[in-house]
Symmetry: C2
Amino acid sequence: MNVTVLCGGVGAARFLRGLLDVVEASTVTAVINTADDTVLHGLSISPDLDTITYTLAGATDDERGWGLAGETWNAMAALGRYAEVRPAGSGAAPTWFNLGDTDLATHFYRTARLTEGASLTEVTAEIAAAWDLGLRMLPVTDDRFRTLVTLGGDGDEAGSEVTFQDYFVRLRHGVPVTDVRFEHHDARPTDAVLAALHDADVVVIAPSNPIVSIGPLRALPGIDEALVARRESVVAISPIVGGAALKGPADRMLTELGVEPSVTGVAGLYAPVASALVVDTVDADHRDAVEAAGMRCVVTPTIMSEAGVGAELARTCLQFAR
Amino acid sequence: MNVTVLCGGVGAARFLRGLLDVVEASTVTAVINTADDTVLHGLSISPDLDTITYTLAGATDDERGWGLAGETWNAMAALGRYAEVRPAGSGAAPTWFNLGDTDLATHFYRTARLTEGASLTEVTAEIAAAWDLGLRMLPVTDDRFRTLVTLGGDGDEAGSEVTFQDYFVRLRHGVPVTDVRFEHHDARPTDAVLAALHDADVVVIAPSNPIVSIGPLRALPGIDEALVARRESVVAISPIVGGAALKGPADRMLTELGVEPSVTGVAGLYAPVASALVVDTVDADHRDAVEAAGMRCVVTPTIMSEAGVGAELARTCLQFAR
């Protein structure tokens, strides 16, 4: 049985970890968001790809909750000297995006290979091999593609459109959002991604932010069509539990964009492309509303900070294989 | 009195340190070689600019003899993982060029500013300000410009042309050289450099490698002409002491390229553009040969590892002011 998982970052990484406890890694394909990718200091940075790589490699600092275990931050500390002298208007030496010293090696390798003409798909496979990951990691596209967020509120930047990293990291997702769009020009999913969506026995939409993690994937031509064509064996996991996001700003963002921040709101977003929604036990009373939105509702523990929950969640999803 | 110094890396940095002991920093302009500059991991690296910056800032590790004090190497250590998986023929993840974690901040800033459209001259001034250096630091050109070395010997790469960093760092300058050339296409010195050569009361050619450090400067259009026009107030310091280079491969390289590895050989190279050569006391018996080559010969201690020698050497050079 082959499984394809549509992925953002942290939530998807945790789900994949559980999935790899119950199936052979070689049967798993992760299709990963690249619309948060950015270039800083000349380096090509792919946050979601790296979060998944490091998590599955068991290399993350679980106590701190982010970054690599044993990480140091000496390069960033030294950058402060330059942030003080940059001319007005310059975005050089951004110290708000913290890159650990050993994490830098990944960006160095990716940047050098892309400069040599390798595709992001090729580089990602090489990075996965370097960490001995057995699953197939596919960036959703090899093309340039990014999420742009329009800021609301009454701050200095209200009304302006910024990149996702500006919103998420620099502004610590503390500013309301009035719009999200994906700038993709001619970007298209790779053939490998479309084949993985077509060929898998089951497609799982990981518990990632439906707007800014799964949204960009669905904005690319052909992705929604591929899901619709096999909707009966597509299952989504709600990233909203008890009306709140486990991590990140998904709940606020849904509200700001006019979507109810609940599993029912999530069902409304996913009903066109998935036949079932997995919701946490705390949301059992939303079952009728989810089904009214057009999805089967599966109630099971989804909070993967407890051991075994990810594996059980994965088993639940595998039941939707055609 | 204004002083302009033509500079490579380490030898020039030590001379400048001595010079700044005896004159106001604001009267000093360093014109610095950029033909060893390279791009690694997407980062713009300027070894001679950084050696001078760090040395003058007192930030170098004098015990180790290179790099920043308190430096760590965690990014490079982590890069080894990727060097193992890169495809055959790929030059990604070069671990032979060791970049310290705090040193990286300088490359990050330079790269980001150049990407924003700043000139290398502007960025260099900003970096000098960040380190509170009072002198004016000028890259010799803002254009792309590099040293290429043809390898001799009987190794695998014999006969091939490589970049200076390949020769100097990757091959640890352990391979004979049969030719050196400067690929500069349309590169030209900046107006600031030409003005600094014209306006200074004295121009000093620092004790840097005459072939690969001072050579590239002289290969740019207008530099030799500017020196010839004021030859009487141009003084060079021999980097060769007792027939050997104090640091680096200058002695072997001179021999390989058919130049006698002695102060007399150096005099032959500099006589067209400088009226005097400062040689170390151990080379006092070369005085007649240097003068026969067409230069005044000044004998004085030049080995700057001892305190006070650099300052005294600077005073000697200032005597040639017009």
